[in-house]
């Protein structure tokens, strides 16, 4: 039996779990009730590494309206009507970079652009055999940051970026060569987003003014210096200055938000206690969305290679017992021979993927527990669950598996298999189109996203905008 300290929906509301929500605060939200919008108000990304096992995700043979969830996705059964299960979309950009394997898969997964080192000065793709031997950075922003920049209005932050165990560091991009840092330490995340409660309005105003005048002077220094440096350095100084302007916006837009309390167990180590980390970080993320701190939230399991899965067992054994760690099991724990010609997959592997699904369900539960307008946060949030591989064992970027949930701006309760049949082979459709679809779900009229490689169709995915 899996044990996590994730507070269930009831505890979340009553404040008996890791997060205490003051009820009057929720009343205040109820007070601002209005009709549920047809377009989502915010976007949440949920990401873990190493793909899935497709045949245990959605049972093969699925159609758009008639489909069954396999063991891995079984925790989503009660939420089926709030999801779109998406199969058979390829990341067609990863292979454009010289170095592939884990690195290129991750850095192209949500950006759909090649490394900046794979593109020449004229904006042309450099053939792989001529590319420099470096693990470059993405040459453009990831879908979450594109939305963050478009959706920020009076929010203090563009996005609230939290991770579990460690920062992936090479997944989310604000722009070219500009990875997003996401916070793996729940205490630090709490301090950053909630622990700023000045005693009085006067003090708040004074503290804002002081910070702003310091940052104004810092920006003046950027302006002085940029006149004396070369073009590349100018670009980097400008990118840094832009982030300082964002801090100014967050100071100007800061608001007193009912702070949650976090209660971390003694001896808690966020690197290792992934279950506790995930629960608390999901609480904080939900609270940040409730407070409208940002229009975008990201939640990433940062140690994709060998997560500790501390305390998560199968038959009393660690998940990867008998294997050389999680990553080795992802590769080796597939298609094991039963002896009569048929095959099975390692139970620990299925259990690990299912655990990720349970965390995703935890996110949906939390969102559904917070009233927003006539409904809940889930009704106003477009949620994307993504991983860099389809079947994890092959480590390739074909036939990815994704779930859209909540209110992605399209009819939910569907299963879309866009691959070229089973078993989930090379698809005519790309992640570029998926991201176009997500943007269109927000009412934007984009027709392309990312790098238009050969064989990458423009426009949204069929059935999604």
């Amino acid at each position: 039996v899996i044990k996590t300290s994730r507070p269930d929906r009831r505890r979340f509301l009553l404040g008996a779990g890791g997060l205490v929500l003051a009820l009057p605060f929720l009343e205040a939200f109820r007070g601002t009730a209005r009709a549920a919008p047809t377009t989502p108000k915010r976007f949440i990304l949920f990401y873990h590494s190493q793909g899935t096992i497709l045949r245990h995700a959605v049972i093969p043979g699925a159609t758009e309206t008639s489909f069954s969830l396999g063991e891995i996705l079984s925790p989503l059964e009660p939420w089926k009507d709030k999801c779109i299960f998406l199969h058979g979309v390829d990341n067609k950009i990863s292979g454009l970079n010289l170095a592939n394997g884990h690195n290129s898969s991750t850095r192209t997964c949500l950006t759909a652009v090649p490394y900046s080192t794979s593109i020449d000065q004229n904006g042309q793709l450099i053939p792989t055999e001529m590319q420099p031997e470096v693990e470059g950075h993405a040459s453009g922003p990831s879908i979450d940051q594109v939305l963050a920049q478009r959706l920020q209005q009076s929010h203090p932050y563009r996005s609230v970026d939290l991770s579990v165990a460690q920062d992936n560091g090479r997944l989310l991009y604000f722009g070219k060569d500009d990875p997003v840092t996401s916070e793996p330490d729940p205490q630090k995340a709490f301090d950053r987003f909630f622990a700023q409660t000045p005693a009085s309005a006067e003090e708040l105003a004074r503290s804002k003014l002081r910070k702003l005048s310091v940052l104004d002077a810092v920006l003046d220094n950027f302006a002085l210096l940029r006149k004396q440096v070369g073009r590349d350095d100018k670009e980097r100084l400008d990118a840094h200055a832009d982030k300082i302007r964002s801090i100014e916006v967050s100071i100007q837009n800061s608001k007193a938000c009912e702070a949650p309390t976090i209660d971390l167990p003694t001896g808690f180590d966020y690197h290792l206690d992934e279950a506790v980390s995930a629960a608390v970080q999901l609480d904080l993320l939900t609270m940040a969305m409730t407070c409208e701190l940002a229009p975008v939230g990201t939640f990433v399991f940062g140690n994709g290679h060998d997560p500790a899965f501390a305390g998560i067992t199968i038959d009393g054994q660690p998940l990867s017992a008998g294997y050389d760690g999680w990553h080795a099991m992802v590769h080796e724990g597939r298609n094991l021979d039963v002896g009569n010609g048929s095959t099975y997959d390692a139970p620990g592997l299925i259990r690990g993927y299912k655990w990720y699904c349970e965390q995703f369900v935890g996110l949906l539960e939390r969102l559904a527990a917070v009233p927003d307008g006539d409904g809940t946060l889930l009704d106003t949030t477009s949620v994307l669950w993504m991983s860099e591989f389809g079947n994890g064992d092959g480590h390739n970027n074909l036939a990815l598996h994704a779930v859209l949930a909540g209110n992605p701006g399209f009819d939910v309760g569907r299963c879309l298999n866009l691959g070229s049949g089973e078993p989930w082979q090379v698809s005519a459709h790309s992640t570029n189109q998926l991201f176009v679809s997500i943007l269109r779900g927000f009412g934007f009229d984009d027709t392309t996203f990312g790098w238009q490689a050969d064989g990458v169709s423009a426009g949204p995915l069929p059935g999604l905008g």
Partner: protein, 569 residues
């Protein structure tokens, strides 16, 4: 099946360093033919760059993009600027090595959250520094000459923080921060704190950058300026701002000549502040950051835990400081000496008498038939291993990439599935497929047999003679296509001794140090700088201290190109 190019001499020969670079290009189900040194289609033959060739060429310093201070450099600089008792905190964005060295631009990016972290770090430091304002200023900010007192402090602070003379505009800006603060009702302490917060967040402080100035037209190569030389020296050799002696020489205009720079380099290398810097270089070279993503199976290795993991990370720095400054400092010593610097958990792991606690460290002699320098340190071996088993692939690839400078990339887009772990089958047997399947064998034949030489060290770096269910360890290996040291060998000790004698290894070490020094990969304009560093290092019988001196005598160090400040048309 498409056969891809594997050998590419142009990339390495063009910088005149290692004679070969392995270069895999695999698309889909393609193969790497492991023929190092054979140029692929379309590769232009290149002439070898020698010292003689370089003597005929004009100085070529290569690119010098601005570099953010690493987290170590930030902490050291804050303490040197404001006092040793200041706690810089841990908010400043962490330096995070993915590949290459921690000095690389890529390892020191300022993200959105990072800019906030810099702000928070500045606030904490300013608060501490102004806790005793009188002591900080050395005069009375509220006295009769209060404004003169503060002005003098701000001018001195800025020049030291920016590590060069400050322009009138820069000074006006900081003075205005104080004046406006006072006019707004803040007291002197708060006003100075705000000035400090501005300085500590400003690009002049956070970044090492060299301005266009008025020394010539854009694109022209000129000798490095005195203040630039001071910062280049101090951050290369001490990971901190220039000390008073460097700043005084710079002010006197006496620090741009090669001889003056060399004299200062020698003074600095003899100073204890140089020791941790070479240790950090060695950690990056050994790819110690791999430990961050690695976990060990504690059912198999009950002695593995946070204490041992911490010891792995600390051992390398202590060993390098010992071998370079207490022993003879030669690369060969780093690669072969049967000495380790250990605390209690490491002593247990190495099976020797050692200190009683994890906090005490001492050098110890190890069994010379089992251990030889850096490549047999427990942390390196654990970092290049899995949770239960060793990784001959990772260990072999390390020797190719890092020791021989023969670049090997992981293959893209192919199924990496290995036969499942079985305690009755040796790792060597499990990997046999790599070396027979033509899609893998070309390159794995170059890596795996090197890694097999390390089979006497388990996944936490312990010596072993059996693996799995009592299978005898076979540590015989082969180093193919590695110049004069090519051939079969048994065990990592023999391999380490062979590597220590290799010209190719010395050239590679010089190249790695050059990369760490300039904070980027080498490129064509760096050819002569790399040759200069290498030749001097080799001539010193590969003394690591001389390598540091050599780095200060390259075109890349002694010259700079005036940047083009024009806006994009």
């Amino acid at each position: 099946m498409q056969v891809a190019r594997c050998g590419d001499v142009s990339r390495s020969a063009s910088v005149g360093v290692s004679p070969v670079v392995l270069f895999l290009v695999l698309n889909g189900a393609s193969a790497c033919v492991g023929d190092i040194g054979a140029a692929g289609d379309g590769v232009e033959p290149t002439t070898e760059v020698t010292a003689a060739v370089c003597a005929e060429r004009p100085p070529s310093p290569g690119k010098n993009p601005m570099r953010r201070l690493t987290s170590f450099q930030y902490a050291n600089t804050v303490r040197d600027l404001l006092g040793a008792s200041i706690d810089p905190g841990d908010d400043f964005p962490k330096t995070s090595v993915s590949q290459g060295f921690r000095t690389f631009i890529d390892a020191n990016i300022v993200s959105g959250a990072g800019a906030e972290d810099i702000q928070r770090a500045a606030e904490l430091v300013a608060q501490q520094a102004t806790s005793d304002l009188g002591a900080l200023l050395g005069c009375d900010a509220d006295g009769a000459n209060g404004s003169t007192c503060v002005q003098a402090f701000v001018a001195t602070l800025a020049a030291r923080a920016y590590r060069r003379p400050v322009s009138p505009d820069e000074l006006d800006l900081l003075e205005a921060v104080y004046t406006v603060a006072r006019a707004g009702g803040y007291d002197a302490t708060e006003g100075v704190a705000m000035v400090l917060e501005v300085v500590l967040q400003s690009p002049q402080f956070i970044y090492r950058l060299e301005l266009a100035g008025d020394a010539g037209a854009a694109g022209v190569t000129i000798p490095v300026g005195d203040y630039e030389a001071a910062s280049r020296l101090s951050y290369l050799l001490w990971d901190t701002m220039p000390d008073d002696e460097l700043l005084a020489l710079a002010a006197a205009g006496a620090l741009h000549e090669p001889a003056a720079i060399e004299a200062q380099a020698r003074r600095m290398i003899d100073d204890p502040r140089a020791r941790p810097v070479l240790g950090r270089f060695a950690e990056d070279w050994l790819q110690m950051q791999r430990l961050d993503a690695s976990t060990k199976d504690t059912a198999v290795f009950p002695q593995y835990g946070a204490e041992l993991d911490a010891a792995y990370r600390e051992e390398v720095g202590r060993f390098v400081a010992h071998a370079v400054w207490e022993l003879d400092g030669r690369l060969a010593t780093l690669l072969t000496t049967p000495v380790a610097v250990v605390n209690a958990p490491l002593a247990e792991l190495y099976g020797v008498e050692g200190p009683a606690t994890a906090d005490d460290w001492m050098p110890v002699e190890l069994d010379a038939s089992q251990r030889a320098g850096l490549l047999t340190t427990a942390g390196f071996l654990a970092g290049h291993a899995n949770a239960v088993t060793t990784s001959p692939i990772a260990r072999g690839a390390f020797v190719r990439n890092q020791v021989l400078c023969q670049v090997m990339f992981p293959p893209p887009g192919i199924d990496l599935k290995l036969p499942a772990y079985d305690p009755d089958v040796s790792v060597r047997e499990r990997l046999a497929q790599h070396r027979t399947d033509p899609a893998c064998s070309g390159c794995h034949q170059l890596m795996d047999p090197v890694g097999f030489g390390f089979e006497n060290y388990d996944a936490i770096g312990q010596w072993r003679t059996t693996e799995g269910n009592d299978l005898p360890v076979d540590a015989s290996g082969e180093l193919a296509q590695a110049g004069e040291i090519s051939g079969p060998f048994v065990g990592a000790v023999e391999l380490a001794h062979a590597l220590a004698d290799s010209e190719m290894v010395r050239a590679c070490m010089a190249l790695q140090a050059f990369r760490a020094a300039v904070g980027r990969e080498e490129a064509d304009p760096d050819q002569c700088s790399v040759v200069q560093a290498r030749d001097r290092f080799v001539a010193s019988d590969a003394d690591m201290r001389e390598l540091l001196v050599a780095l200060t005598q390259t075109d890349a160090f002694l010259y700079r190109v005036i940047p083009d400040v024009q806006e994009e048309p």
